[in-house]
């Protein structure tokens, strides 16, 4: 259940930030306006990416670098499939670059937010360690 929450959080963050980035690109007229179809498509793309990343974490990839590379490949792969076979965006080099940029930006934001959360946990753990050490010395 707790593991499910981790991936649910990642999915929610990636969906939120990909929508935000799409809106920004739409504001500068790179993409058409954000509508219900766009929302549904973004939802399925985020869900597909999160599901595949969850499955990739079941593989025993020991190298952190290889794990990150595999996650990036999943993101790029899903986005290209969404564009090529589901018509999510015009499949031209310009739009492919814009969409892949959104995908990788969103991925970076999710990583950074997770890291900030881990730093907060590390701080709490260090506080617990210090108080236990002081207790044992008394």
């Amino acid at each position: 259940m707790k593991e499910f929450k981790v991936y649910l959080t990642a999915f929610t963050m990636s969906f939120t930030f990909s929508c935000i980035f799409y809106l920004l690109f739409s504001y500068i007229d790179v993409f058409h306006s954000f509508d219900e179809n766009t929302l549904i498509t973004m939802l399925f793309v985020s869900l597909s990416i999160t599901t595949l990343i969850f499955l990739s974490h079941r593989l025993t990839i020991r190298s952190s670098l290889m794990l990150r590379v595999s996650e990036c490949l999943i993101i790029v792969g899903i986005l290209l499939i969404a564009g090529r076979y589901f018509g999510m965006f015009p499949f031209t080099p310009f739009y492919i670059t814009a969409v892949v940029s959104i995908g990788l930006l969103t991925y970076t934001v999710v990583l950074v937010v997770s890291y900030i959360g881990d730093q907060a946990s590390a701080k709490k753990i260090n506080s617990v360690i210090q108080s236990k050490t002081m207790e044992e010395r008394q």
Binding site: K2, E3, V6, S64, L67, R68, L111, S114, Y115, D118, Q119, S121, A122, K124, I125, N126, V128, I129, K132, E135, E136
Partner: protein, 148 residues
């Protein structure tokens, strides 16, 4: 934190040493005390220089498996154990030890500080200055060991 009354009954009528804790609830302070008692009582056998040593787990910093052999590390010495890592994990399960990777169990009582790494892992600095890495799959249980 409520006051703890310590009562010791010494008699030759008792065959074993038994510690009974009467309490309304096991709070954090008491849980720490219980862990400490367990750490003092659990002994592992380790081989070094063809001699077998009895080692209290409270003195061990971590236990590592290399090529199917388990090694017990205290501050300055390494002992070889006859037990497999999963067997040792079972022996130390109610103490401060926790598995942090496929091959390593660490004594959280000997962790001085931790820091988060950008790759989703944690790095723990031990009391002898050594650093060990908490792998991503074990980070959740590692956090729970301290924060729950």
């Amino acid at each position: 934190m409520s006051h703890i009354r310590l009562t010791i009954k010494e008699s030759t009528a008792f065959k074993d040493i038994e510690i009974i804790i009467n309490c309304p609830v096991v709070d954090d302070h008491l849980a720490t005390l219980i862990e400490l008692i367990k750490q003092h009582e659990v002994i592992l056998l380790g081989k070094k220089d063809h001699r077998v040593h009895s080692i209290s787990v409270k003195d061990l910093l971590y236990i590592e498996a290399v090529d199917n052999t388990s090694f017990l590390y205290d501050r300055s010495t390494v002992f070889e154990s006859e037990l497999k890592l999963y067997e040792i994990e079972e022996v130390v399960k109610d103490t401060r030890f926790i598995r942090i990777s496929k091959n390593l169990i660490v004594n959280t009582g000997h962790i001085e500080s931790v820091r988060a790494l950008f790759n989703g892992k944690f790095e723990a600095v031990l009391t002898n200055g050594e650093k060990v890495i908490v792998n991503r799959h074990y980070v959740k249980s590692f956090k729970e060991k301290f924060l729950n």
